[in-house]
């Protein structure tokens, strides 16, 4: 009791010092409240808006980051949490939570090289890892040249730019580099923030994009939607099958289709470096976290109705915003999980017939 109080006060004190902790506004009884990842925020907001018009039920989503979302759902202050980093099955079990993937997206390396267009420069995971570890420092390095025999690469220094704020984007990118470069895995590893040995950190997608645009010879990584909408030069990447692909919705979908959702406990699937000739190697899903035995049964049922509606009616809105909707097969798996796992008084709070 006292330690919980003290911890609360510690957080408050931190807020006083420098952090702005996003306040969670109290939603009205009928409204669903959620908090977490910033990456899916635009699509959740768009869905919520359309859903409110159709049903009158509102959704209040606070994009405070995946870590924040996990903390909030564990503290039971929200109906659902959202995270770009799936929780391990053991951790879900321990907290009495379930998770399911809601939407997907891709992370795209972007560059600033004069005269070179999107997709002209090709890189592999190993080379990308070496760049970010500070071992490849010039664009005309033999390792890059080997992948791009026909491209005229300049003798300029490479300025690697990374996301300084902890984020799902960081997690996907470092997870991909860890899977393709054993050295990266042992020396740096995968996480929402890591210790970068080289380069400069910029805040958010906009910070990275802006830094790359400003700095000649720089390389960074942003969410696909961000690269596309801002017209930033991206690179082609070699995937697990050794084919070079460019980022596009179909390439993300190919990665998702090749993932083994059905046999992964708790949907613990990270979509990076998936096999398949067309798969984009840095693809990721954003997850929803909910209690198996929710306290607020009515609102949790409302939330599931909303997610169901979003799966069925939200695909067009998602692709408009350059997100990738979950494939049919995954949706029906998730719906089975809902009716089997989320219960109140031993009865499921959501069934496929309930509309």
């Amino acid at each position: 009791m006292t330690s919980a109080f003290v911890r609360c006060a510690a957080f408050g004190a931190l807020a006083v010092l420098s952090v702005s902790v996003a306040p969670l506004s109290v939603a009205s009884a009928a409204d669903i409240s959620g908090a977490g990842a910033t990456f899916p925020y635009p699509i959740y907001a768009k869905w919520a808006d359309a859903y409110k018009k159709e049903t009158g039920t509102g959704l209040n989503y606070q994009s405070i980051g995946s870590g924040g979302g996990i903390k909030q759902i564990k503290a039971k202050t929200v109906t659902f949490g959202a995270s770009d980093m799936p929780l391990k099955p053991e951790e879900l079990e321990q907290a009495g939570l379930i998770q399911f993937p809601m939407i997907m997206g891709g992370v795209v390396p972007v560059v600033n090289l004069k005269g070179l267009k999107s997709g002209e420069v090709k890189l592999s995971g190993t080379v990308l890892a070496n760049i970010y570890m500070g071992e490849i420092t010039k664009w005309n390095d033999p390792q890059i040249k080997a992948l791009n025999p026909d491209v005229n690469l300049p003798n300029t220094a490479i300025a690697p730019v990374y996301r300084s704020d902890g984020s799902g984007t960081n997690f996907l990118f470092t997870d991909y580099l860890s899977k393709t470069s054993p050295k990266f895995k042992t020396q740096i590893g995968a996480n929402s923030s890591v210790q970068w040995p080289a380069g400069i950190g910029a805040k958010g997608n906009e910070g990275v994009a802006n830094m790359v645009k400003q700095t000649d010879g720089s390389i960074g990584y942003v969410e696909y939607a961000y690269a596309k909408q801002n017209n930033i030069t991206y690179v082609g990447l070699q995937n697990k099958d050794g084919k070079t692909v460019v980022p596009k919705i179909e390439a993300f979908q190919a990665a998702a289709a090749n993932a083994d959702w059905a046999n992964s406990k708790g949907y613990y699937v990270i979509l990076t470096d998936e096999p398949g000739a067309d798969s984009w190697p840095i693809t990721g899903a954003s997850f929803i976290l909910m209690y198996k035995n929710p306290q607020d049964v009515a609102v949790s049922a409302e939330a599931l109705k909303f997610f169901d509606w979003a799966y069925k009616n939200g695909a067009k809105m998602a692709t408009d915003l350059d997100y990738v909707p979950m494939p049919e097969a995954v949706v029906s798996l998730v719906q089975k999980t809902w009716s089997q796992s989320i219960q109140a008084d031993g009865k499921p709070i959501w069934t496929a017939s309930a509309k």
Binding site: S3, V6, R7, C8, A9, A10, F11, G12, A13, L14, V16, L17, S18, V19, S20, V21, I64, G65, S66, G67, G68, I70, M85, A157, A159, S164, D165, G166, S167, I188, G189, A190, N191, S192, S193, V194, Q195, W196, G199, I200, G201, A202, K203, G207, N210, M211, Q214, T215
Partner: protein, 327 residues
């Protein structure tokens, strides 16, 4: 006769009543203000206790090494605060080196030499600067100031100061635009209005007679400022500088945008670095795991201690100065 006596005792009684009521009011007022004053101490104590409690897991895991190591690795959960501490101090030093002379210049110009018609516009401009939210400084720094640093100032510094042996180390490396120097300069701009408006206000408290006597004795403006105005306003001036320094130490958003956010200590002030508050703001939302969160709280505790130490040193300095002056 009796009637008059009666009214007199009545009056007497009502005066006594009023006096009693006033005493009660006074007591209530005194206790209320005392309560508010003590509340500050209580809150401060609460902040300290909860910061220490929140930081304990980190301090237990790393001990004193927490403040002496540079490593900051969320993957292996090894944390050391040296890089953010260094960044916090160095950006504040740059901010003060830029902010103090400029602020003094502005304040002295306004109080000593400024033509009457210019006083108001200058004053309003300074207050407007103080009113700009820090995020705006950050965005301006990122989109406008950093490209200017990158294309003009940093290449110039590399070509000139960077060639001098010794201090040249401070101006080495590629011109990224953002980095410790840029953050320090933006902090310098941000603390300007605070130091300026306070020093201006205290400069204006110098009695005109004292000033005029000095001029009457044939002193130059410089001599008046140095020998009359500054000694008279020492306490207030130091207070203003401390307020600016406090802001520079704790500033978060603007710094996060332009410092480059790298947990490294570089010899060059043009290289990316990080500060305590920038690290907390960047990583707090995604910090998963007890030791990670505790390390961020421990950073907060260190910032608290730094601010406290700086303020104490300032107070001590003032006391020493006052004793020397024989006040």
């Amino acid at each position: 006769m009796t009637e008059i006596a009666l009214t007199l005792t009545d009056a007497h009684a009502s005066t006594a009543r009023r006096a009693r009521r006033q005493r009660l009011q006074d007591a209530a007022f005194r206790n209320a203000t005392l309560f508010f004053a003590l509340l500050v101490l209580f809150i401060l104590g609460g902040v300290t206790v909860s910061l220490i409690d929140g930081a304990l897991p980190a301090l237990r895991a790393f001990g004193f090494g927490f403040v002496t190591t540079e490593v900051w690795n969320p993957v292996s959960e090894e944390f050391g605060a040296l890089a953010p501490i260094y960044g916090t101090l160095i950006t504040s030093v740059i901010a003060m080196a830029v902010g103090i002379p400029v602020s003094f210049g502005i304040a002295l110009f306004i109080t000593e030499m400024c033509p009457a018609w210019l006083k108001r516009p200058l004053g309003v401009a300074i207050e407007l600067l103080a009113g700009i939210p820090s995020i705006i400084y950050g965005i301006w720094g990122l989109f406008v100031f950093a490209p200017f640093m990158q294309s003009t100032i940093q290449p110039f510094l590399i070509a000139t100061l960077g060639q001098i042996p010794g201090i040249g180390n401070l101006f080495m490396g590629p011109p990224y635009g953002i980095g410790v120097l840029t953050a320090g300069l933006i902090l310098g701009i941000m603390v300007l209005p605070f130091i300026t408006s306070i020093t201006r206000d205290v400069f204006e408290t110098v009695p005109p007679m004292v000033r005029e006597s000095a001029y009457g004795l044939g002193a130059t403006t410089w001599e008046v400022v140095w020998n009359v105005v500054l000694p008279y306003t020492r306490t207030g001036v130091v207070g203003g500088v401390m307020l600016g320094l406090g802001r520079a130490l704790g500033e978060t958003m603007a710094v996060t945008f332009v410092i480059g956010n790298a947990h490294r200590i570089s010899s060059s002030i043009m290289a990316p670095g990080t500060t305590i508050s920038a690290s907390i703001a960047n990583e707090f939302t995604e910090a998963v795991g007890d030791v990670y969160t505790a390390s961020l709280v421990a950073l907060g505790l260190i910032l608290f201690l730094i601010t406290f130490t700086v303020l104490s040193i300032a107070k001590l300095m003032l006391l020493r100065l006052q004793r020397k002056a024989g006040v």
